[in-house]
């Protein structure tokens, strides 16, 4: 199931899995749980992807370190 979810299977193998999930309710339930679990963990720990952008203030700070200015500042 992990390989299927990670899209690591060949087209043929993935099709076999899909066909099985269509007829096996037990596996379909486990598969849905796995999908939802991954989404839930991501939501709990990752935060929204649309927040993955540096604020203008941060970018300005980074740019201020350019041109040798970083050499003159204390080490992190």
């Amino acid at each position: 199931m992990q390989a299927y979810l990670d899209k690591l299977l060949s087209e043929g193998d993935a099709l076999v899995i899909e066909q099985h999930l269509a007829v096996c309710s037990e596996c379909a339930c486990a598969y849905r749980f796995e999908v939802k679990l991954r989404q839930h963990v991501k939501a709990c720990c990752g935060g929204a992807a649309d927040q993955d952008h540096c604020r203008d203030e941060l970018l300005a700070k980074l740019k201020s370190c350019c041109g040798g200015a970083a050499d003159e500042q204390p080490s992190a």
Binding site: M1, Q2, S25, A28, C29, A30, Y31, R32, F33, E34, V35, K36, L37, R38, Q39, H40, V41, K42, C44, C45, G46, G47, A49, Q51, D52, H53, C54, R55, L58, L59, K61, L62, K63, C65, C66, G67, G68, A70, D71, Q73, S75, A76
Partner: protein, 197 residues
């Protein structure tokens, strides 16, 4: 050409290379922030981490080999700084959690009779419990889960960032996911015991 004009030319070339390096590095600021936010769990800590990482990168720019993966080089700095900060905070050695099967958590949560039930079953895992469970994973496995499952990097990108073979990433990711599920199952048991007492 005199020695002086040769030195001047070398300085000019070096300055040009540095500017180009810095411009290229800044194009990955959002990626750096994305990794930092997942590794630290906080926007504020992530900004500090990104700033520290860029300072280090700009100071050691000549250690970067032009033509190689600058993005991975930079994100590796972010990761290494986060690891260093984590080591300073950590007081006790991390024990490797028990690793159960892929279906362990599903079975411990009672399974579902219909696929749609999965939504409500999964929601029983509190955010605090999930965050704690992830934090309990040993660093190598947590990094793999964070980079691939949370920050959406490909296996290859994660391998480049962590400077390990892609097979190692896949192995750590697989085991990390199992450990995470084992930890989550434990948090559910702990919650149930606390409620019963």
């Amino acid at each position: 050409m005199t020695a002086e004009s040769s030195d001047a030319r070398d300085l000019a070339v070096r300055a040009r290379d540095r500017v180009r390096f810095e411009e290229d590095a800044l194009t990955y600021a959002d990626d750096a922030y994305r990794v930092a936010r997942r590794l630290t769990g906080s926007s504020e800590a992530a900004e500090d981490l990104v700033q520290d990482a860029y300072m280090r990168a700009f100071r050691s720019w000549e250690q970067y080999t032009p033509g190689t993966n600058l993005r991975a080089w930079l994100l590796r700095i972010v990761h290494n700084l986060a690891v260093d900060a984590g080591r300073k905070r950590q007081r006790t050695p991390q024990m490797e959690p028990v690793e159960e099967s892929d279906y362990y958590l599903y079975q411990r949560m009672g399974g579902t009779s219909t696929p749609e039930e999965a939504d409500t079953v999964v929601e029983r895992l509190s955010q605090g419990g999930v965050v704690s469970a992830l934090a309990a994973l040993p660093q190598p496995y947590r990094d793999a889960v964070v980079l691939v499952d949370l920050a959406d990097f490909s296996y290859q990108d994660a391998a480049d960032i962590l400077d390990v073979p892609i097979g190692t990433i896949m192995s750590r990711l697989h085991r990390g996911r199992r450990m995470l599920k084992t930890e989550l199952a434990q948090t559910i048991e702990d919650t149930a015991e606390a409620a019963a007492s």
